[in-house]
Amino acid sequence: MRYRLLAGLAAVALITGAGGAFAASPPNALVIGTNLGAIPALDPAAINARTVSEVVSNLYDNLVIVNPDDLTTIRPMLAEKWTVSDDKRTITMTIRKGATFSSGNPVTAEDAAWTIQRVIKMGAVGSTDIALWGFTKDNVDSLVQATDPQTLVIKLPEPVSTDLVLYSLAGASLGIVDKKTVLANEKNGDLGQNWLKSNSAGSGPFKLTQWRPNDILLTDARADYWAGAPAMKRVVMRHVPESGNMRLQIEAGDIDVGQYMASGDIEALEAKGATIDPGPGLGFYYIAMNTQDPDLAKPKVREAFQHILDWKPLAATTMKYNGFPWQSIIPKGMSGAPTAEPTGHEYDPEKAKRLLAEAGYPNGLKKTLFPSSDALLKMAVALQDNARKAGVEFEIVPGEHTPDFRARKFQVLVGNSGTRLPDPFGTLVQYAYNPDNRDEAKLGGYYLWRTALDAPELTKLVDQSKAETDPEKRKALFEQVDKGYQALPPTLIITLQRTDPYVIKKGVSGYVGHPTWSTRWFDVKKN
């Protein structure tokens, strides 16, 4: 009996050992290891996360596109060309002839107009960027119109720098949707929202063939894509939530691109010759404080909190590859951003203690600390540890706390942000803008509102920068906002600028992580 058992086990080993399923990923297919658990739905209008933006950017084309290596130039995509009227209030776009959706329907100006109207009408997360320019459910139908199958006219409800509008049209949420197909799948007037959660209707170079949450997302290249067929016949996203497992699979050659990896694993792969695309992001890591808490409403307390996190070792260890030291609300290298090394938020527990005493807390403070998601837990623990030396006790409540943050239901939170507008305005409007501080305004998109801090001066300046087109004047405005923000003292303390590293296997080229997360697979090649 014992021998039979052994023989059986040996047979299993032989069978599995003889299987031919372990070849490296095929030469004409790209395999991306990622975390598919974070994808809520595939509808462009409802997305605001990284992985799903990447998927959508390859299933859908935008009217215009911004290359990852040159964020200042807006290039044509479905819109072949465009003109801006003299009063800068009307953008007229000519839609490319010959582009088709994966359904076979031709792409028309009507589809483009409907896409913009749909995003605004749905009012979901994806509308945030474009709604900034004054479009509302009531005015969008009359302002955005197709005058003929090839002409799209966008009228702006208020004076806005047209570049900003074009930037927002390049974002993943504004991927142009096949109106006919979506309306054919509409239910109870939901604008196809339910159907698009797990189906796609775009004109991009890839079409969705399979999606199983927590498992796999398969896309096939379209041979009839208007810009020619991409080199990769297939792109597969595989759910590999565990970084160590991902590392083994990249080493073995089964995965070509790895996302969401731990810094230790990235470091090891870099040493073995993998390319690390640092994935510079346009967001930050921050500590947010709610001024609805009477203690945190005191500016002295917030000033003290600027010195309770030792971010230098953090940037060199757990946050390596995920961020670099930065303390301005304008991303590094952009117009108006400081050129010097970041200063101002140095770790100084003694200074923090002194400031707290001056604020009336000689015995320190006790607060609850939310990490905005599991990914931020490590940072929260580091903060808890550092802050103790400054007399601040944090009780950490793990979980996904972004909804609490949006609803102003928190005391202190650590989180990170991203933006899809590759312009300083994109971060300024997030961090330094609050047009209505009342609870019932529910302006969850703005961080100052979330932290209940009214800053009318800054709000005015940010509004001004929206319409300004002169580069020098814009720069001056941005600098002014940044300075004013730091003087508040702000409710969000920035210590690191976000990066989203991509680990790319040797032999894979053309995969370039996009700072606004619309990474495209069209140019990817393998040799």
């Binding site: 299993v12 809520p40 080493e251």
Partner: protein, 348 residues
Amino acid sequence: MTTYEAFNRPQRFLRLRQFSGKALSIVVTLVGLLLLTFTMGRLLPADPVLAVTGSEVDRATYERVYNELGLGEPVWKQFASYVGRMLTGDMGQSLTTGRPVAQDLLTVFPATIELALVAMLCGTLIGVPLGIVAAINRGKLIDHIARIVGLAGHSIPIFWLGLMALFVFYAKLRWVSASGRIDILNEGLVPPITGLMLLDTALQGEWDVFRDALSHIILPGAILGYYSVAYISRMTRSFMLEQLGQEYIISARAKGVSRRQMIWSHAFKNIRVQLLTVLALTFGGLLDGAVLIETVFGWPGLGQYLTRGLKMNDMNVVMGAVLLIGVVFLTINIISDKLYRILDPRTR
């Protein structure tokens, strides 16, 4: 004839009463389970309306969805309609995937069941012989080794063990695959019948795909199974020791029955029934343990579905998955109870 009937009637009545008692207890358990999941849905801090609409929502939409979800109704009414929907198999829609939860569960649950079955097989194949060997050699070196082998599986973090096993068997030896249920090249080649990949591929004679599926499941299955070895072997050992100390064994030995015959034909036969209960309990435990192993191996099963639902505040998913787990435990209990009765006439 009359005497026979007179004898049989109360017996039949007794069985009927037993049966209805059992059925009642199942119904009560089910209602309790439904009440539990319903309360859970109400008590969790997630706002069900915001989960549907997203957080940037105007008051009118909020109220429309609030009413659509029936949240304005009295609680008992909400519970009644919840039970009604569950009885018809309508677990609502996943707010994130847009598909009915019941349909989602039908795809993720077989993956977990298959993993647990393989784990169970591995655990039994290692645990039972280990327990028997330990019992026969009680107090000797091999007994201690058996205990250490079992305990190691139980005390080493399953997460770490999974990664180490991947390193050895996937990265170094290339014997097995690393992630998911099947290779992408074989994706969609074999139409699902039962949802159990090994069974489906075998039934359709697709042996290449079968080997691929096996190479994916064998590692997570074996590790998950190893996790249960400590419990199975310890229980087997103590059942076996109890039997070996019985008089019938001693007299069988005296009569000259061979050692092998004594162990397998006499002692093992008598512990089969007890072992069955142990294995049934283990199976339930394996479903629990699958959550971690599913993460390490990117296994698209119930554990990951449930955690994702929790993270996304997708309450229909959480309630549906918890209900399913409850029903599975209930079913395992009923089946093991039934088998117990069949195999051991004394308990009838």
